[in-house]
C-alpha cells in the first residue's frame, strides 16, 4: 500500500516541483522518469508474489480508502511509466532546453506530471469517489494540454469531459446512497441488496465513462483534439488518457458489480465496440492527414477493449475463456499504449522533417529518416496485430476467446479490424518508401529524439516476444477455473 501511494504521490511531487522550478522544471524528467519507472517495476515484482494493497492511514473501507494493485494494475502502471517517461524525455526537445521561461515551456511540465499522477491514481484506486477526483485531475491536465494544439477542439473535449464526470459522479452518489460504501469489493458484496438503484447508477457511470473513453458514437471530440495537439501531447492523450476511464469501467463491471450485467448490457458493449472498430477504421482509411489517420485509428482500437465484455462473459461467472479475454484486454491496453505513443512521436518527427502533415508529404522519407521510419513500422506492426508483437498477442487471445465461447461474429470483426488496420497503416508506410530520391529534410533539434519512438516500438514488439511473464501476471488474480481453461489458449 505504501508503494502504491508512492506511485500516485511521486508524480504529484514532481507536479509541485515543476511549478516552483520555473525554467529548470524541464530537467526534472531526468529524475522523474527513472524514479517512477523503478517504483512501477518494483511493484510488478511484488505483485508477482501476491496482489498488493491496503487501507490508507489504516482506515479500512467503508470509512477509509483502500489502494489495490492486481497483476493487471501492475502491468499497466509499468507500461504507463515507460510510455510517460519516453514521451516526457521526447518533450524535452520542445519544452526543455536553456531558453527563458515561456507560458508553454513552463506549464507543460506540471500538466504532464498531473496527467501522469491522474493515470497512476486511477490505476491504484478502488474507491468510486476517489476515482472521480483522480480522473478529474487527469481530465483537466489532458484538456489543457489539448488546448496547446486547438482551443476549439479543447473546448469540445472539455464539454464532453464535464458531462461525463457529472454522469459518473451521479452514479457514484447513488451507489453510496444505496449501499453505504464506495469501495468496489464492498459494493460487490452489497449490490444484490439494492439491485434497481444500483443498475441505474451503473448505467450513469457507464455512460459517463464511455464519453470520456470516446467509445463510438461518443467519439466525435477525439480526432480533432488528438490530431491537432503538439506531438508529445497527442501521444499522451491517445496512449494514456482514454485508457483510464476504460479501466474504471472494466473494474466497475467485473469487480464492483460482477454478475449484474445482463445479456443486453453485454451485447450493447459488444455491438458498440464492433461498430467503433469498423467506423474508426473506415474513417482512418479515408484520411489524408497523417495525425488525423492515427487519431481515427485510436477510435477503432478503443473498440476492441469493449469486446472484452462479451468475450469474458461480463464477469458473470468464471468461464474457461474469461482469463483469456481478461489477458487480451491487458495486452491490448499495454500494447496500444506503447504503439500509439510511438506512432504519434514518429509521426511528429516525420511531419517536422518533411515540413508538412499530409501523407503525400512523406514520399521517400524512409531514406532521409531511417530510424524514425523503422520506429513507425514497428509500432504499425503491433497496431495491425501482426506477430510477434504485443498487439498480436491481444488479438490472438481475443480470437481464441471469441471462438471458445462460440461468438464467431466477434472473431470476424477482430479479423476485419486487423485487415483494415493494415490498410490504413499501409498508406503512410508505402509513401515512406515511395520514389527514388532522398528528400531534403529539416534537421531535428536533437538527433536522439528519433530514439524515443524506436524504444516504444521495440517495447510493443518485445511485449509479444516475452509475453509469458506479463500474461501470467495479468491473469494472476483470476479464479482458478479461468486460469486452468487457458492452458490450451496459450500460444
Amino acid at each position: 500500500m505504501n508503494l502504491l501511494f508512492a506511485l500516485a504521490g511521486a508524480p504529484l511531487a514532481f507536479l509541485l516541483a515543476s511549478l516552483i522550478a520555473g525554467r529548470h522544471g524541464a530537467r526534472l524528467i531526468w529524475i522523474a522518469a527513472p524514479v517512477i519507472t523503478a517504483l512501477a517495476f518494483w511493484l510488478a515484482l511484488e505483485t508477482h508474489a501476491r496482489p498488493q494493497g491496503g487501507a490508507l492511514g489504516g482506515w479500512m473501507p467503508p470509512l477509509g480508502i483502500a489502494l489495490e494493485a492486481d497483476g493487471l494494475g501492475a502491468v499497466l502502471l509499468l507500461t504507463c511509466a515507460l510510455t510517460a517517461s519516453v514521451t516526457g524525455l521526447f518533450a524535452l526537445g520542445r519544452y526543455g532546453g536553456a531558453r527563458p521561461e515561456s507560458a508553454r515551456r513552463y506549464t507543460f511540465w506540471p500538466l504532464f506530471y498531473g496527467l501522469w499522477a491522474g493515470m497512476n491514481a486511477v490505476l491504484v484506486s478502488r474507491d468510486l469517489f476517489n476515482l472521480y477526483v483522480a480522473i478529474e485531475l487527469l481530465s483537466i491536465c489532458a484538456v489543457a494540454l489539448a488546448a496547446f494544439g486547438s482551443r476549439q477542439a479543447a473546448v469540445n473535449y472539455m464539454m464532453i469531459a464535464l458531462a461525463g464526470s457529472l454522469a459518473y459522479l451521479l452514479g457514484a452518489v447513488l451507489i453510496y446512497a444505496a449501499l453505504g460504501t464506495l469501495d468496489m469489493s464492498l459494493i460487490a458484496q452489497r449490490a444484490p441488496e439494492a439491485r434497481a438503484s444500483v443498475l441505474i447508477a451503473a448505467a450513469l457511470i457507464t455512460g459517463g465513462l464511455m464519453a470520456k473513453t470516446a467509445l463510438f458514437p461518443l467519439h466525435g471530440w477525439l480526432p480533432p483534439a488528438h490530431g491537432a495537439a503538439p506531438t508529445a501531447v497527442s501521444a499522451l492523450l491517445s496512449a494514456l488518457v482514454v485508457k483510464a476511464s476504460f479501466v474504471i469501467l472494466a473494474r466497475v463491471w467485473f469487480e464492483g458489480l460482477p454478475g449484474l450485467a445482463g445479456a443486453g448490457v453485454i451485447t450493447a458493449f459488444g455491438v458498440l465496440g464492433a461498430a467503433a472498430i469498423v467506423y474508426g477504421s473506415v474513417l482512418a482509411i479515408t484520411q489524408t492527414g497523417l495525425k488525423a489517420l492515427i487519431a481515427y485509428s485510436t477510435v477503432a482500437q478503443l473498440g476492441y477493449l469493449f469486446l472484452v465484455f462479451p468475450l469474458a462473459g461480463g464477469g458473470e461467472s468464471a468461464t474457461p475463456w474469461t482469463a483469456g479475454a481478461w489477458g487480451a484486454m491487458g495486452f491490448h491496453l499495454s500494447a496500444h499504449m506503447l504503439a500509439k505513443a510511438g506512432l504519434f512521436l514518429a509521426a511528429g518527427l516525420m511531419i517536422y522533417g518533411a515540413g508538412g502533415g499530409r501523407i503525400a508529404d512523406l514520399t521517400g522519407l524512409a531514406r532521409a529518416m531511417p530510424v524514425t521510419s523503422l520506429a513507425f513500422g514497428l509500432c504499425a506492426v503491433s497496431l495491425m496485430g501482426l506477430p510477434p508483437s504485443g498487439g498480436f498477442m491481444a488479438k490472438y487471445l481475443m480470437l481464441i476467446a471469441a471462438l471458445a465461447s462460440g461468438q464467431w461474429h466477434y472473431a470476424l470483426v477482430i479479423l476485419a479490424g486487423g485487415l483494415m488496420a493494415a490498410a490504413y497503416l499501409f498508406k503512410p508506410l508505402a509513401r515512406l518508401f515511395a520514389g527514388t530520391g532522398t528528400p531534403a529534410i529539416r534537421a531535428l533539434p536533437h538527433r536522439s529524439m528519433a530514439l524515443a519512438p524506436l524504444v516504444l516500438g521495440a517495447a510493443a514488439i518485445a511485449l509479444g516476444l516475452l509475453s509469458a511473464e506479463p500474461y501470467a501476471l495479468m491473469v494472476s488474480g483470476l479464479p482458478e477455473a479461468g486460469e486452468a481453461g487457458l492452458e490450451e489458449a496459450e500460444p
Binding site: 484538456v143 517536422y352 533539434p445
Partner: protein, 107 residues
C-alpha cells in the same frame, strides 16, 4: 417524527433530481459556453443535494457525504475556472496562436 425527518431528506433529494434534469436541459439545449457552465454547476449542486438528502437521518446529514460534497464543490470550481478561461481565450485569441507566437521550436 422519524418519518417526517426521513421525508425532509426526500424533499431535498427529489429537488436534487429536478435540478439535475433542469441542468441537463440547459447543458444540451444551450450553445453559449457560459450558459453550459452554469448548467454544469446546477447539475453538480443537484447531485450534491441528492447526496445530502439521501444521507439525511435524525442524526443529521451523514458526515462522509458532507466531506465528499465539499471536495466535489472544489473540484467543480477548478473545472469551471479552467473551462471559463479556455472559452474566453478561444474568443479573444482564436483557435491557435500562429507558429511564431509561442516561440516553440521542434516537433
Amino acid at each position: 417524527m422519524t418519518e417526517l425527518l426521513a421525508e425532509r431528506g426526500h424533499v431535498f433529494a427529489l429537488t436534487g433530481a429536478a435540478l439535475i434534469a433542469l441542468g441537463f436541459y440547459g447543458f444540451m439545449a444551450q450553445r453559449a459556453v457560459i450558459r453550459r457552465l452554469i448548467s454544469f454547476n446546477v447539475i453538480g449542486s443537484g447531485v450534491f443535494l441528492l447526496f445530502g438528502g439521501t444521507g439525511y437521518s435524525a442524526a443529521g446529514v451523514d458526515p462522509v457525504p458532507q466531506a465528499l460534497i465539499i471536495t466535489g464543490i472544489v473540484v467543480a470550481l477548478a473545472l469551471t475556472a479552467f473551462a471559463a478561461a479556455l472559452a474566453v481565450r478561444l474568443a479573444q485569441g482564436g483557435d491557435r496562436d500562429d507558429g511564431t507566437d509561442d516561440g516553440e521550436a521542434g516537433p
